[in-house]
């Protein structure tokens, strides 16, 4: 799949923002007044920047309001609704906490639940697609959730919790790639896709176009597979293993937390780029790829 920068930015930043919301809703860290303002501002900035970035790749933004209408079948629609509800719920949490030093009953925990739900709906946009076998596995939502929870804990200043979550993320990434490779390899051949396998070995002689087109640009993207193994190790180290080691093995402090965050973010972006660039769509089989 074509790794559109807008989608990479969107999923990384908004995941981080909603992850931070999750912790803030639970009262972690337990802050009020100006400090609470700063934390909520970061969470709002990240999640809104992410959501805004996601609209950049829309071809026809003027119809955007309709995107909230199909929650009964569409994960993308559910995501939009969940995101807006979460942002709204956290206004109810943030305002009393910042200005009144008080807590609205239950709205914090409810907000946290919705924050996770938002990340889950994002992940299901990808995990639901049977056409991309690598994504169509239960570990895809787990990976998204761990990114949000781990990154969010890091931003919330919970070094030890973040360390354990990023360690879990490391293991999940490894498992997800392993299962993904198996699933992708079992995708079939051009003969299976065309239903011509009984005639012998099938190869593409001529494609249905002499020029670029949307389907090829969007879904038969193959650049990511060349350096996949190396990039995986880089993403794994930066997003998971290294920050986990720093957070779990060194005494907590601003410098180590900042270093862990910088590494994690870089790794998360590389990992997300790879998530798209590596993914093989079944339509590639019709193109002999």
């Amino acid at each position: 799949m074509h790794p559109a920068p807008s989608v990479i930015i969107f999923t990384t930043l908004s995941g981080l923002g909603f992850g931070l919301f999750f912790w803030l809703g639970l009262g972690v860290p337990d802050v009020s007044g100006g400090t609470a303002f700063a934390f909520f501002a970061i969470a709002y900035a990240l999640s809104c920047a992410g959501l805004l970035a996601s609209t950049f790749h829309l071809g026809n933004k003027k119809n955007a309001i309709y995107a909230l209408s199909q929650w009964r079948t569409s994960w993308l629609s559910r995501e939009g609704i969940a995101a807006i509800l979460t942002l709204f719920l956290f206004a109810l949490v943030a305002v009393p906490r910042i200005f009144l030093g008080a807590e609205m009953a239950i709205s914090g925990v409810l907000g946290s639940i919705f924050a996770l739900l938002t990340v889950f709906t994002t992940s299901m946009i990808y995990a639901q697609l049977k056409t991309i076998r690598r994504w169509h596995q239960p570990l895809t939502p787990v990976m998204f959730l761990l990114h949000a929870l781990g990154g969010g804990a890091l931003l919330a200043g919970e070094a030890k919790i973040a360390g354990w979550l990023l360690l879990a993320l490391t293991l999940v990434l490894l498992a997800m790639w392993r299962i993904g490779d198996q699933r992708a390899a079992a995708r079939g051949t051009t003969g299976d896709a065309t239903g011509l396998a009984h005639l012998g070995e099938v190869r593409m002689l001529e494609s249905g176009h002499t020029a670029r087109n949307y389907v090829v640009d969007e879904m038969v993207y193959r650049v990511g597979r060349k350096h996949a193994a190396k990039l995986r190790m880089i993403a794994l180290g930066l997003a998971g293993a290294l920050p986990a080691a720093i957070l779990l093995l060194t005494p907590p402090g601003h410098i180590t937390a900042f270093l862990a965050l910088a590494l994690h973010l870089t790794g998360a972006v590389i990992g997300r780029w790879l998530f798209f660039a590596e993914a093989e769509h079944v339509v590639g089989l019709y193109h002999g790829k």
Binding site: G59, S69, I125, A193, E218, Y286
Partner: protein, 243 residues
């Protein structure tokens, strides 16, 4: 609404004969012509006379070569357009309700006044049947020529999809695949028509008729007659080698 209808009264669709199709791309051109001048945004061409041309099509013809061990190869031309799937994943993923399947005849359409151009439906389609128009920013797909087949302003023989009407080899058939007594259903039953990638559970309405079995000729694939050139050519070969 992007919920799929529980059942459709008819299942209008195409039956494409891979035995007869000669790969002339006539259907591609007819489809582009009709659908650029009629329903919805035109199918744009980007940089058509420049160095990097591209464009939107609702139907494309691919050519494949199939070869069994020790047999001569055979060419199969495979046109592909939307299969108007019964269980269309492109419809259910759509966040706006722009993509829908009609309960009266099963045609899958895009309401261009709702589409946001997110492209998710194209990701959900296994067959590459949806293309985003780069000019309009709207998802385009085969309409089964919905503006021809019911169009009483056209002479009756023209009330079929443009691609079917134009096909010079009669490889494309249009009809109701939900009615077991229709001509298309009988054709599918006779010839063993099949679904593309049935394991993905999309339940396509369009069917493909497999190429008929070929005569078995006694010709073998070409053998290498002489590895080493003889006579004059042999001398030339050696002389050139020495240079």
């Amino acid at each position: 609404m992007t919920a799929l209808p529980e059942k459709t009264d008819k299942k209008l669709g195409l039956v494409i004969d891979l035995d007869t199709c000669v790969g002339c791309h006539g259907c591609v051109t007819a489809c582009k012509g009709w659908n650029t001048q009629n329903y919805g945004a035109p199918l744009s061409d980007t940089d058509p006379y420049g160095a990097d041309p591209g464009g939107t099509f609702l139907n494309r013809v691919f050519s494949y070569e199939a070869q069994a061990e020790g047999q001569p190869a055979q060419t199969v031309h495979m046109p592909r357009s939307c299969l108007h799937c019964d269980d269309a994943p492109c419809v259910t993923v759509c966040p706006t309700g722009a993509s829908y399947k009609r309960s009266e005849d099963g045609i899958v359409l895009v309401n261009e006044d709702r589409c946001i151009g997110c492209g998710l439906c194209a990701w959900a389609c296994p067959y590459g049947a949806r293309e985003m128009d780069r000019d309009a920013g709207i998802m385009k797909k085969c309409t089964l020529c919905v503006d021809r087949i019911y169009n009483e302003n056209l002479p009756e023989e023209d009330r079929v999809p443009a691609c079917v009407r134009t096909c010079p080899s009669g490889a494309r058939h249009f009809g109701d695949l939900g009615d077991p007594d229709s001509d298309v259903s009988k054709l599918v039953a006779d010839r063993g028509g099949y679904d593309l990638m049935p394991d993905l559970g999309t339940k396509p309405v369009n069917k493909y008729l497999p190429p008929r079995a070929k005569d078995t000729l006694n010709t073998q694939p070409l053998e290498v007659i002489a590895d080493e050139p003889q006579g004059f050519l042999g001398w030339l070969d050696k002389a050139l080698e020495k240079l």
